[in-house]
Amino acid sequence: MLDANSILFAGAVGLLVIGIGGMVISDHLYRMLLALALAEAGANLMLVLAGFKWNAVAPIVTFSMAGTSGMVDPVPQAMVLTAIVIGVGVQALALTMIIRIRNAYGTLSMREIKHKMEQDFAAKADLPIETRNIPARNE
């Protein structure tokens, strides 16, 4: 019942579902960013699991066992290294955008931001601004 592989698989799936769920459902920009980090963590765990072999050793050749089999697969580990660093780069970039959005619109709610963005577009394209609320900006 309690087998290490299924525990870790469940952990990866859990992180993925929580992360993706958070990204889809949340309305707060910063929380979407946290959710993205969680989802990436889940995907990374899944990738490492894809190369994991039970009862094997880490993929480092030592003098005692050079060349023998029974190491875990190094390829997914290398891929995860890449994916982790990519993830943090994207995260930092997203954070700079959040800071700018807040400066421009003064809010961090996705729904309000979308609304204001549409108004900006309408103003830019010389279209009548939708009259749902907020009077037309006059600059």
Partner: protein
């Protein structure tokens, strides 16, 4: 000679790294150096195309066998490796807002070069994780370019870029997951090696991996469920960037999906899925384009619809599908950037366009030309693309899809005619907008020239495409070329 093809990836990257230091010495130099290098690269690819008939394979780091990364260079890859620098030079940010600091401009140039490097890598690579890495590079560079916005965008460019980033990052998680699932089952990443083992992936788990990969790479290919970013991003960014993303970047994402489809997933289920998503994309795109009130949004939605057509075409099995898909994709690659260039000044409300043809007759004429080709009026290449698509579909007896394509063509003609009629309409309360920038006119005119040239040379082009298509669907030689039959 032929191994120099790697330079199409390495040199733009090198230049992008060094550009910030270079522009401290002279900004003009760094602004002009990059297009020159890109043109030289395009010439080099042209030479390789001319003098090397055979498909060849580059083993990066000389690690032969499926454990290393392979660049697989056939005619299809060369075609894209040629198109990437050419289209980029045409859409190069030649002019800037005078208020921007030179540091900011340099950053934009660097990002554009990174986009070129990633695109070149994507057109050549034959390794699924390597493709993912290049795709991410493409994505990050395009976030930056969209966030840079155009001078009027304000906060909306950040908002659009952030929403795009979130969708794209979600897609990347899916793509990574798909690659993990594939690796779980096969233990390899090389496309040819995977193709050899495709029966392993002919299972529910394999198909789930395909769906994940489709969702991941579909973001940039403007595939149906993950394309809500498209109109916003194109509205917010400068039209040159929009043209680059719609014309070039989307095609490279499509290329990845097609490689996966042809080499790894020949099942009917995968093709059906692509067909359904493509049809939905066409329906949503054309109807939304019809409702659009401004030109940029209309072009964005029509881009989604055109890519839907591309997916419908590629869902036809065998060479017919490859040929039709290539034709539609290449046609879109030429027309959409040109239309976005035209929309640089005319991107606003459609009503304000009334009578603008008088102020800029050349651009109006070009718009008419591209619109006619997009609808598919006979002598123009767009007609032949749609003809190939429809004949391929009728061979498959996919009558529903044919009906959708035909009806949507009528709708497309309807909204494009609306624009044309207002362009040439007479209206006294016109507000002449400032004219097009010279660089825009020049690039659009070149693209128009290409379109007319291909109308004249349609037979030669048809034959070349036919060769490329039959190469591309030849899985056996793909496998034997890249891993030499041994594994």
């Amino acid at each position: 000679m032929q191994e120099l093809i790697i330079l199409t990836f390495a040199v733009p990257l090198l230049l992008a790294f060094l550009l910030p230091s270079l522009s401290r010495i002279s900004f003009t130099l760094s602004k002009l150096l990059a297009p020159v290098v890109l043109v030289a690269l395009a010439v080099m690819v042209g030479c390789i195309w001319q003098f090397h008939d055979d498909t060849f394979v580059l083993h990066i780091g000389n690690f032969t066998g499926p454990q290393g990364i392979v660049f697989y260079i056939d005619r299809l890859a060369l075609l894209f490796a040629f198109a990437v620098p050419v289209i980029t030079v045409l859409l190069w940010p030649w002019y800037f807002d005078p208020q921007e600091s030179s540091e900011l401009k340099t950053r934009k140039l660097s990002l554009t070069l990174l986009l070129v490097a990633a695109s070149a890598g994507m057109s050549l690579s034959g390794d699924i994780f390597n493709l993912y890495v290049f795709y991410e590079l493409l994505a990050v560079a395009s976030y930056g370019l969209i966030a840079a916005g155009d001078h009027k965008a304000g906060g909306s460019s950040y908002a659009a870029a952030f929403r795009y980033l979130m969708i794209s990052a979600l897609g990347s998680v899916f793509a990574l997951l798909g690659i993990a699932l594939i690796y779980f089952q096969t233990g390899t990443l090389n496309l040819a090696h995977l193709s050899e083992m495709k029966q392993v992936l002919d299972s529910p788990a394999g198909l789930i991996a395909f769906v994940f990969i489709l969702l991941g790479f579909g973001v940039k290919a403007e595939l149906f469920p993950v394309n809500s970013w498209v109109p916003e991003a194109y509205m917010a960014s400068s039209k040159r960037v929009a043209g680059l993303l719609a014309g070039l970047v989307s095609k490279l994402a499509v290329l990845v999906i097609i490689k996966a489809l042809i080499l790894i997933y020949p099942q009917d289920e995968a093709r059906q899925l692509l067909l359904i998503l493509g049809v939905i994309g066409v329906l949503i795109g054309e109807f939304s384009a019809m409702k659009a009130q401004d030109m940029t949004r209309m072009l964005s939605w029509s881009s989604i619809a055109q890519l839907g057509l591309v997916f419908i075409a590629f869902s036809i099995p065998g060479k017919a599908g490859m040929l039709a898909g290539l034709a539609v994709a290449l046609h879109h690659m030429i027309t959409k950037p040109a239309l976005f260039l035209i929309a640089e000044r005319w991107g606003g409300s459609l009503q304000k366009l009334t009578g603008q043809a008088a102020s800029s007759p050349l651009m109006a004429a070009l718009f008419v030309l591209f619109a006619l080709s997009m609808v598919g009026v006979p002598p123009l290449p767009g007609f032949w693309a749609k003809f190939l698509l429809l004949s391929g579909l009728s061979a498959q007896e996919a009558w529903l899809a044919i009906g959708v394509v035909l009806v949507m063509t009528v709708i497309e003609a309807n909204y494009l005619y609306r624009v044309i009629s207002s362009l040439y309409g007479k209206d006294e309360l016109q507000s002449i907008s400032s004219g097009h920038h010279k660089a825009d006119v020049f690039s659009a005119a070149i693209l128009g020239g290409v379109l007319i040239f291909s109308t004249i040379q349609i037979q030669a082009i048809g034959k070349t495409l036919d060769d490329i298509a039959s190469d591309a669907v030849d899985i056996k030689s793909y496998i034997s070329n890249s891993i030499g039959g041994s594994s």
